[in-house]
């Protein structure tokens, strides 16, 4: 009964979505307020219906209803409750339902927080989001029904993929999808603006907070996925340039460009059509990511469910949505104008250069991801693209972009001068260069790549500090607190996010430069010394888990004879599927991780004897994720800015005052 209820709610949601996407759009075209007014209630009704459908699926998982195919293939009665609930989005069908839920949720949020938008714009935005929802609901109902019954019911479920039975994997997909789908709001605003033919600073101001929030969630989602790979794949890597990782990284790069481009459009009225294009591209890449993951055109560790028929559906949908919006862009973009002029040396130029580097970097990732497919389609042969390509192409593109992060915030809008910039930034530059040259010696070994990476990280940090110092000292308010408070949250958000990038770069550089690994065979009681630490292997004990059998190793970590930590790496053999999983044991530290994972017993099936054990020292690796979370935090701080709320209320004034009026804030 519950699955049928969920199925029915989905069908109703589709009908409501059709209303939501057509009538308000027609109303906006002919200027009929009653049709436009339908947008908001329809979007809310759709949200409620999708929530009901999702809750029904979750209830089927929680209640072990193995008469539902989806539950029978992706869950098991031994699976703990939190993983049963997470299994709701562990399958292809369930993850699409989560996608749809997120979309409905974002649309619902638009209906709540855009009360003062002009009705024509609001109805168009909601209708565009409704159109996307129609596509996904059709996809769910016709090719991937999550509520499909299984006759006769299975006595027991197949179990959730063990790779997904992990706390990180419980929250990773929702975060990632919040980000992916969140770009649909910026996309809908862009399409609505193209339809209306009006693109101005207020439009950018409305889009900005939505884009920033989506970007922050995407950042968290990617960081969680990378952290998960680090501790579950058992060999200490944190990024693999796997097609599915790339699929989430491309929207992130484009979204980063979009955030900066929106800032220029809001402050200076420039880059209008470029901003609109980025908004379209960011969401298109989210859709493309869904296509790549779900269609099976590329083989990947993450492609859990693939089916060519589904691929065709998503491709047609992709062609309609993206092709349609790019055609609209081609037709309308020329009419929105190019916006203000700016000098060769100016903040606009720095941001434009940054934008271009980010987009070229995105294109290089896209090319690397699709290259095997291109060559195959052209019968030019078969190749596989691995980390060597990405390392060679990506880092050189990113380095100048990172350097510009120091220059951009210091440059004046419209016209800056190189000598002026030099005067403001010379101390930051000098300190960064000196520290980057000296620091590698204190860490052990000097290498040009480490020095270069550290320079970029330090340069971003020192130039941000100089910027903040300049802002605070030039404030006319009395008292330090008042001086600090004089700057807007969006300014502090920017600083935090930039500092996050600096922390991230420092982490990547140091872990690449100084990580050590030892792959050793250890008898019970034997020790190995790695980088000043002593790892003593005390053997492996078998033991039960909720839905697996575990082999747990015990490794004592000592330094200078003093015991620091006991690590317990595991091998798990899952009961239902018989699959094995390696769970590394990690002693996390700000200055670096000590990482131990079990290989295989030396004598087959003799688990109590000697084992091959992998020991890593990963200096500063947690800075990678710490940096990512700082970036996301910066995004959340930035949207607390009062002007996003005031701007909505006072939109008529700000249009009259023009884009220059708010130029002081960022």
């Amino acid at each position: 009964m519950i699955p049928e209820l969920g199925h029915f709610a989905l069908i109703l949601a589709l009908l409501v979505a059709i209303v939501q996407s057509t009538l308000p759009l027609a109303g906006a075209a002919i200027g009929e307020p009653r049709l436009m007014a339908l947008a908001r209630p329809a979007a809310r009704a759709q949200f409620v219906l999708v929530v009901v459908a999702f809750a029904c699926l979750a209830a089927s998982f929680a209640g072990n209803d193995f008469s539902v195919q989806n539950v029978a293939t992706n869950s098991n009665s031994e699976l703990p409750l939190h993983y049963r609930l997470a299994a709701t989005w562990g399958s292809h069908e369930g993850s699409l339902l989560l996608w749809t839920l997120m979309l409905a949720g974002w649309t619902f949020a638009v209906t709540l927080f855009s009360r003062n938008l002009p009705p024509v714009l609001l109805s168009r935005v909601i209708a565009v989001m409704g159109l996307i929802s129609v596509g996904f609901l059709l996809f769910l109902l016709f090719t991937s029904n999550p509520f499909e019954r299984l006759v006769p019911p299975a006595p027991e479920g197949n179990d959730l993929n063990p790779l997904l039975q992990d706390p990180g994997m419980v929250i990773h997909p929702p975060m990632l999808y919040m980000g992916y789908v969140g770009f649909s709001v910026a996309f809908a605003f862009a399409i609505a603006a193209l339809l209306g033919g009006r693109l101005d600073a207020t439009w950018a101001r409305w889009s900005r907070p939505w884009t920033t929030v989506a970007w922050a969630f995407l950042t968290i989602g990617i960081a969680l996925g990378s952290g998960w790979a680090y501790y579950t794949l058992g060999w200490g890597g944190w990024w693999f340039w796997d097609p599915v990782e790339n699929a989430s990284f491309m929207p992130w790069l484009t979204g980063t460009a979009l955030i900066h481009s929106l800032a220029v459009t809001e402050k200076r009225g420039a880059f209008k059509s470029w901003t609109v294009l980025l908004a379209i591209v960011a969401f298109s890449l989210s859709l493309l990511g869904t296509f790549l993951v779900r269609s099976g055109v590329l083989t990947s560790v993450h492609a859990f469910a693939t089916d060519p028929a589904r691929g065709v559906f998503i491709l047609v949908f992709l062609a309609l949505v993206v092709g349609g919006s790019l055609a609209l862009f081609a037709y309308r973009a020329g009419k929105v104008g190019l916006g203000g002029m700016f000098g060769v040396v100016s903040r606009e130029s720095a941001l434009l250069a940054n934008n271009i580097l980010l987009i070229v970097a995105m294109a290089s990732v896209l090319l690397g991801t699709l290259y095997p497919l291109f060559l195959d389609a052209l019968n030019l042969g078969k190749i596989s693209v691995g980390p060597p390509y990405f390392d060679a192409v990506f880092y050189p593109l990113l380095a100048p972009a990172l350097f510009l992060m120091g220059v951009g915030p210091a440059a004046r809008w419209s016209q800056a001068s190189v000598p002026g910039l030099w005067t403001r930034l010379r101390w930051a530059f000098g300190v960064a260069v000196a520290a980057a040259l000296i620091l590698p010696f204190t860490l052990g070994r000097w290498s040009p790549l480490v020095a270069a990476g550290l320079f970029l990280a330090l340069w971003i940090a020192t130039s941000s500090f100089v910027n903040l110092y300049g802002r605070v000292t030039s404030s006319h308010r009395p008292g330090l607190v008042a001086k600090i408070a004089a700057n807007s949250p969006s300014y502090y958000g920017m600083l935090l996010a930039h500092l996050g990038v600096a922390v991230f770069i420092a982490g990547v550089t140091l872990v690449k430069g100084y990580e050590t690994e030892q792959d050793v065979r250890l008898d019970v009681g034997q020790s190995v010394a790695v980088g000043g630490y002593e790892f003593k292997f005390l053997g492996v004990q078998p033991g039960p888990g909720p839905n697996y059998r575990a082999l747990t190793g015990t490794v004592e970590v000592r330094r200078d004879g003093r015991q620091l930590e006991t690590l317990r790496p595991e091998k798990r053999i899952y009961n239902a599927s018989g699959q094995t999983m390696t769970i590394a044991a990690i002693d996390v530290g700000v200055l670096g991780d000590r990482y131990v994972s079990l290989g295989e017993p030396l004598v087959e099936n003799d688990v109590s004897g000697a084992w091959s054990v992998r020991v890593y020292l990963k200096p500063f690796i947690d800075w990678i994720w710490g940096g990512a979370f700082l970036m996301a935090l910066g995004g959340f701080v930035a949207i607390c800015d009062r002007r996003y709320r005031l701007a909505v209320r006072r939109r008529t004034e700000s249009i009259a005052a023009g884009p220059g009026s708010a130029a002081a804030a960022d």
């Binding site: 058992g234 491709l315 078969k382 691995g386 087959e604």
Partner: protein, 177 residues
């Protein structure tokens, strides 16, 4: 007119992209049979991963049914199929030979220590030349080769439990008769 053309560049790029994706879909790597099937397995002679002074060639394996599994330590999808291969090796049904594709031998050896070594012998294809002869799309791939050295089946992507149970093992048993 020129103006509309200029703004159409993104659309143009997208159309090309969709065309490729469309072709890519119809060439689903898991569905298209390899042109090698029914033909002799391409000859090779490569040094062994664990004994670099010794070599192994396809010709040495005439008279046995064997699997050639293409893998690499940098290949993430290989981790998915690997436990299955380890299991298969323990059952002693058919020998599996590993082709360590475009990989550092040291990294390859370390990877096998970590994840278990199901291979009768692993050979090293440093520059990927043998991989090209075998039409390797991406790693992992697995070939079933019969007693006379004819390629009988090719699995592209990780071996799934279903593919092993329904296709590879029945075929191996038939060929071993």
């Amino acid at each position: 007119m020129m103006r509309v053309l200029r703004w159409s560049i993104p659309l143009g790029i997208f159309v090309v992209l969709v065309a490729f994706l469309w072709v890519g879909l119809s060439r689903d790597p898991r569905e298209v049979p390899s042109p090698l099937i029914g033909k002799p397995a391409p000859a090779f002679r490569l040094s062994k991963l664990h004994a670099p002074n010794e070599t192994l060639g396809a010709a040495d394996l005439k008279g046995t049914v064997w699997l050639l599994n293409v893998w690499a330590s940098w290949c993430v999808s290989c981790r998915v199929e690997h436990p299955l291969l380890v299991q298969l090796a323990q059952q002693n049904i058919v020998p599996v030979y590993g082709l360590d594709y475009k990989d550092q031998p040291a990294a390859g050896r370390a990877w096998l220590t970590q994840h278990g070594d199901p291979y009768a012998v692993s050979i090293v294809d440093l520059d990927g030349r043998v991989g090209i002869d075998y039409g390797v799309y991406g790693v992992p791939e697995t070939f079933v080769i019969d007693k006379t050295g004819i390629v009988r089946y090719k699995q592209i992507g990780p071996i799934t439990p279903e593919a092993l149970r329904d296709k590879i093992l029945p075929l191996v048993r038939e060929l071993q008769r």
